[in-house]
C-alpha cells in the first residue's frame, strides 16, 4: 500500500560536458565538446544507446544460441554428418578480426584525447578507426575466400548438413559484421563533424568486440562439431 510521500531525491549538480579540467563520468573523459550551441549534444549517464546495444547483443546471442542447438540436434538426428576441414583462411581471419578490436581500443583512447583537449591535427584520431574499418572489411573478404575454398571442394549450401551450417553461420556472422561496419562509418561521420558522443563510440565498441567474441565462439563450434 503506497501511502507515504517521498522527498524528491536530491539532485546532483548537473555535470558539465567534459573539457579540460572537467573529467566527466567514470574517469574517461567525456568526448562531447564544451559548446552547448550544438544541437542535442548533452551527454548523460547512463546513455540509452549503451543499454540499447546490450539489447541488440542479447538478441543476437539468442539467435546464435538457437542455431547452435539446431546444429547439435541435427547432428544427432541422422548419420549423414560428413566432417569437413575448415579452410585455413578462417584462422587468419580470426587474427584479423581480433586485431581490429585492438585497433578499435587504440582509437578510443586517441579519440578521447582529441575530443577532450586542444585539437591538434597530429593526433590523427580517425586513423585507427580507419584501420578498424579496413581490418573489418578484410575479415569479410577473408570469409568470402573461405566460401570460395569450400566451393572449389564441391561443398555448397545444400551438399550436406555440415556445409549447410558452415555457410549459414559464417554468412550470418559476416552480415552482422557488415552491419557493425555501417555503424563504424556513422561514428566516423560524427567524428569528422566533431559532434561524436562518447556513448556512441562506446556503443559501437561493445558491439564490435562482441562480433569478435561471437566469431571465436563460432570458430570453436565449427571446429569441434563440423
Amino acid at each position: 500500500m503506497a501511502t507515504t510521500v517521498h522527498e524528491p531525491p536530491k539532485v546532483e549538480p548537473r555535470r558539465a560536458p567534459g573539457g579540460p579540467g572537467n573529467p566527466g563520468n567514470g574517469g574517461l573523459r567525456n568526448l562531447v565538446p564544451n559548446d552547448d550551441s550544438l544541437p542535442a549534444v548533452r551527454d548523460y549517464a547512463p546513455a540509452p544507446s549503451r543499454t540499447g546495444i546490450w539489447v541488440v547483443m542479447a538478441a543476437i546471442t539468442m539467435t546464435f544460441a538457437a542455431f547452435t542447438s539446431a546444429l547439435v540436434v541435427r547432428q544427432g538426428a541422422a548419420l549423414d554428418w560428413h566432417h569437413l576441414t575448415l579452410p585455413r583462411v578462417l584462422y587468419w581471419n580470426t587474427l584479423v578480426l581480433l586485431a581490429s578490436s585492438v585497433s578499435l581500443e587504440i582509437s578510443r583512447r586517441r579519440v578521447a584525447v582529441f575530443m577532450g583537449g586542444p585539437r591538434t591535427l597530429d593526433l590523427k584520431p580517425a586513423r585507427w578507426l580507419y584501420v578498424t574499418l579496413f581490418l573489418g572489411l578484410a575479415f569479410v573478404a577473408g570469409q568470402y575466400a573461405a566460401w570460395l575454398q569450400l566451393r572449389s571442394e564441391g561443398l555448397f549450401l545444400a551438399t550436406n548438413p555440415n556445409s549447410s551450417f558452415f555457410y549459414l553461420l559464417t554468412a550470418l556472422h559476416a552480415l552482422h559484421v557488415l552491419g557493425g561496419l555501417t555503424g563504424l562509418t556513422y561514428v566516423l561521420r560524427k567524428l569528422h563533424g566533431v559532434i561524436l558522443r562518447r556513448s556512441t563510440l562506446d556503443t559501437f565498441s561493445y558491439y564490435w568486440h562482441f562480433m569478435g567474441v561471437l566469431w571465436v565462439y563460432l570458430l570453436l563450434l565449427l571446429w569441434m562439431r563440423l
Binding site: 524528491p8 539489447v55 540436434v73 538426428a77
Partner: protein, 594 residues
C-alpha cells in the same frame, strides 16, 4: 538522479509536413496509434476468417456467397474445400497471434504510453521506433500477399510443423510459396519487434524523469518492460527457425526433413533432417509468445482497475514479481506442447512440473486482484467492466490449464477442442478484453475525445456473454474427443458433435456482429465524441497530467518531477480522493487498514 529525459537521445522538434506528421512519424504517440490501426485491421481480418471457418464447421456443404473471390481453387461453387478451411484457419491464427495480440496491447498502447509513464519526451531511438512500425507493416503486407499467390496461403497451422511445412508444395496446396511467404513475413516481424524492444528497454532503464524510481513506474509499464525482455529473447529464436525453414524450401537443405519420405509415390530428395527440431525451436519461442500476449493485458487491467476501485492493489511489488516470474518460467515449460510428440517421455515429465508450478504466479496475480477488490469503491464503466471481465476469463482459461499441464491427461485431451478452449479463453478473450479495457480507458487521452459509454456497455454485455457462449462448449467437445483442425467430422463417434458446433457458430456470428458496435463507437467518437478533459477518470498516473491529446513532446517542455508512487488513491487531497504522481502535495492517507 539526473533529469535525463529532458533531452531525449535524438531530440526532434514537432513535424511540419503531412508525411512526417502522419506517415513516417518519429513521435511515439503516432507510432502507437499506427500500431493500433494495424491491430484493428488485423483483428477484422482474423474475425472474418473465423466466421468463415465456423460456418463451414456447422454447415459443411453450405455455399457461402462470394467465397470464391477469396481463392482461385479453394471454393468451387462457393463451397469451402477442406484445404481452404485449413488455409483460413492458419491465417486466422497467424493474424490474431502476431498482428493483433502482439501488436495491440504491447506495441500500440506501449508505444503511446510508456514514454509518458516514465516521464520522457519520447523513446530513445525514434528512428528505430518508426522502423519498428513500418517493418511490422511490411510483414503484414507480405502475409496478406499469400492469399494472392499460386495455390494460396499455407495450410499447416500457425505452428507449421515439419515436414509438412518443409517438403514443399508436394505436401498440399499452399505448402510451397505459401510457407515461404509465411516464414518470410514472420522473420520480418521478428525484426520489427527487436526494433521495438530496442526502444522500450532503454526507455525504462535510462530515461526516467526525476523522482521516478523503478518501483514508481505504473503497472502497465512494468508489464511492457517484462514483455519486451521476453520478446527480445523469444523472437530471436523464431527468426532462425524461419530462416532454416526457408532454406529447406529454396536451398535444398534438410534441416527438418528426414530421409526416405514418400509423398504421392515420389521419394523426397531431402535426407537426415530432424522433425522434432522444428517443434523445439518453435515452442521455445511459442510459449513465451503467449505470455507476451497476456502480460501487457495484465498490466493494463491492473491499471484500469486501480483507478476504478479508487484504491491501489494490495501489493504493487508482488504483482511485478509475479509477472516477472511468469516471464522467466515461460521458457521452462515449452515442452508441454510436445508431450506426445515422440520426444523422450521422461522429458515430458520434466516439462510438466514447471508447467504445473507456473500456476502459482498466475494464481497470485488473480488473488491480488480479487483481494484488492475487497474494500474497494468500484466504479462501473466500459473500461472497468472489461477489466473485471478479464479476470473472469483468465480464471476460466487458467483452470483448463490444470488439465493440459499433465502428460497423462494430455493422452486424452491433446489436439482436441479442449486445447482450443484453453488458449482462446486466455488469449482470444482475456487478452482481447485487456485491449478493450485499455481502449475505453485511454481513448480520451489518445484522441482527445470521449467514447460513448452506453455503446461501450452494450458492447461489453454482448461480448462477455457471447464469448462464454462460444468457447465454453469447446471444453465439452474436447473432453468427448473432438479432434481439432478438422474441417468436418466424418468419424462415427463425432457425429453427435455437429449440433454443438452449430450452436457455437451462431454464438460466434452474433458476438462478431456485436463488435460492429465497438468499431462504430471508435470511429464515431474519434470525430464526434465529446472533447475530453485532461483527467476524465480522476486518475493519478502521468498520462493524466497532460492535455488530451498530449502535445508533441508530451509534457510541453516541462521537466517532470515525480513525488509519489503511481497509485495514490484513497487519500485526502486538494483534488479529492487521489493525488497525481507529479503533484508535490503531501497527503495524509485515508486508506483504512482493515
Amino acid at each position: 538522479m539526473h533529469d535525463m529525459s529532458a533531452h531525449a537521445a535524438a531530440h526532434h522538434g514537432p513535424p511540419t509536413s503531412f508525411i512526417r506528421k502522419h506517415i513516417f512519424s518519429l513521435d511515439h504517440k503516432v507510432i502507437g496509434k499506427q500500431y493500433y490501426g494495424l491491430g484493428l485491421v488485423a483483428v477484422i481480418i482474423g474475425m472474418v476468417l473465423s466466421w468463415l471457418m465456423r460456418i463451414h464447421l456447422g454447415w459443411t456443404n453450405a455455399a457461402i456467397p462470394g467465397l470464391h473471390l477469396l481463392s482461385k481453387t479453394g471454393a468451387p461453387g462457393d463451397v469451402m474445400t477442406p484445404e481452404f478451411y485449413l488455409q483460413l484457419m492458419t491465417m486466422h491464427a497467424t493474424f490474431m497471434v502476431f498482428f493483433v495480440l502482439t501488436v495491440a496491447p504491447f506495441a500500440a498502447f506501449g508505444n503511446f504510453f510508456l514514454p509518458i509513464h516514465t516521464g520522457a519526451e519520447d523513446m530513445p531511438f525514434p528512428h528505430f521506433n518508426m522502423m519498428s512500425f513500418w517493418t511490422t507493416f511490411v510483414a503484414f503486407c507480405v502475409m496478406i500477399l499469400s492469399f494472392f499467390v499460386g495455390d494460396g496461403p499455407t495450410l499447416g497451422g500457425w505452428t507449421q510443423y515439419a515436414p509438412l511445412s518443409a517438403v514443399g508444395s508436394v505436401a498440399g496446396p499452399g505448402q510451397g510459396a505459401g510457407v515461404v511467404i509465411w516464414a518470410t513475413s514472420l522473420a520480418i516481424f521478428c525484426l520489427g519487434q527487436l526494433f521495438g524492444a530496442l526502444n522500450f528497454i532503454p526507455n525504462v532503464l535510462d530515461l526516467r524523469c526525476k523522482g521516478m524510481s523503478l518501483w514508481r513506474l505504473p503497472l502497465p509499464t512494468w508489464a511492457w518492460f517484462i514483455t519486451s525482455c521476453m520478446g527480445l529473447t523469444s523472437f530471436s529464436v523464431l527468426m532462425p527457425a524461419c530462416i532454416l525453414l526457408i532454406l529447406d524450401h529454396v536451398a535444398g537443405t534438410s534441416f527438418f526433413v528426414a530421409s526416405n519420405l514418400v509423398i504421392n509415390d515420389q521419394l523426397q530428395p531431402h535426407s537426415g533432417g530432424s522433425t522434432l527440431l522444428w517443434q523445439h525451436l518453435f515452442w521455445f519461442f511459442g510459449h513465451p509468445e503467449v505470455y507476451i500476449a497476456i502480460v501487457p493485458g495484465m498490466g493494463i487491467v491492473s491499471h484500469v482497475l486501480i483507478c476504478n476501485m479508487r484504491k491501489p492493489m494490495l501489493s504493487h511489488r508482488v504483482l511485478v514479481y509475479s509477472m516477472g516470474a511468469l516471464a522467466v518460467l515461460s521458457y521452462m515449460v515449452y515442452g508441454h506442447h510436445m508431450f506426445v510428440s515422440g520426444m523422450n517421455p521422461f522429458s515430458s515429465l520434466l516439462f510438466s512440473f514447471p508447467t504445473l508450478l507456473i500456476t502459482i504466479p498466475s494464481t497470485i496475480i488473480v488473488l491480488i486482484w480479487i483481494g484488492s477488490l475487497y474494500g474497494a469503491k468500484l466504479r462501473i464503466n466500459s473500461a472497468s467492466l472489461f477489466a473485471l471481465g478479464f479476470i473472469s476469463m483468465f480464471i476460466t482459461g487458467g483452470v483448463s490449464g490444470f488439465f493440459l499441464a499433465q502428460p497423462s491427461i494430455q493422452i486424452l485431451l491433446h489436439a482436441t477442442y479442449f486445447v482450443v478452449a484453453h488458449f482462446h479463453f486466455t488469449m482470444a478473450i482475456a487478452a482481447l478484453f485487456g485491449i478493450f479495457a485499455g481502449t475505453y480507458f485511454w481513448f480520451p487521452k489518445m484522441w482527445g475525445r470521449m467514447m460513448d459509454e452506453t455503446l461501450g456497455k452494450v458492447h461489453f454485455w454482448c461480448t462477455f456473454v457471447g464469448t462464454y457462449a462460444i468457447f465454453m462448449p469447446f471444453h465439452y467437445l474436447g473432453l468427448a474427443g473432438n479432434v481439432r483442425r478438422y474441417s468436418s467430422f466424418p468419424a462415427d463417434y463425432m457425429q453427435s458433435f455437429v449440433g454443438v458446433h452449430k450452436f457455437i457458430t451462431i454464438a460466434a456470428l452474433f458476438t462478431g456482429a456485436a463488435q460492429l458496435i465497438f468499431f462504430y463507437n471508435l470511429i464515431h467518437s474519434r470525430f464526434r465524441g465529446k472533447p475530453a478533459p485532461d483527467n476524465p477518470w480522476q486518475a493519478t498516473s502521468l498520462e493524466w497530467s497532460i492535455p488530451s491529446p498530449p502535445p508533441h513532446d508530451n509534457f510541453g517542455g516541462r521537466h517532470v518531477v515525480v513525488y509519489h508512487d503511481p497509485y495514490q488513491y484513497g487519500v485526502e487531497s486538494s483534488t479529492g480522493d487521489y493525488v497525481m504522481q507529479d503533484s508535490p502535495e503531501q497527503v495524509k492517507t485515508e486508506h483504512e487498514e482493515a
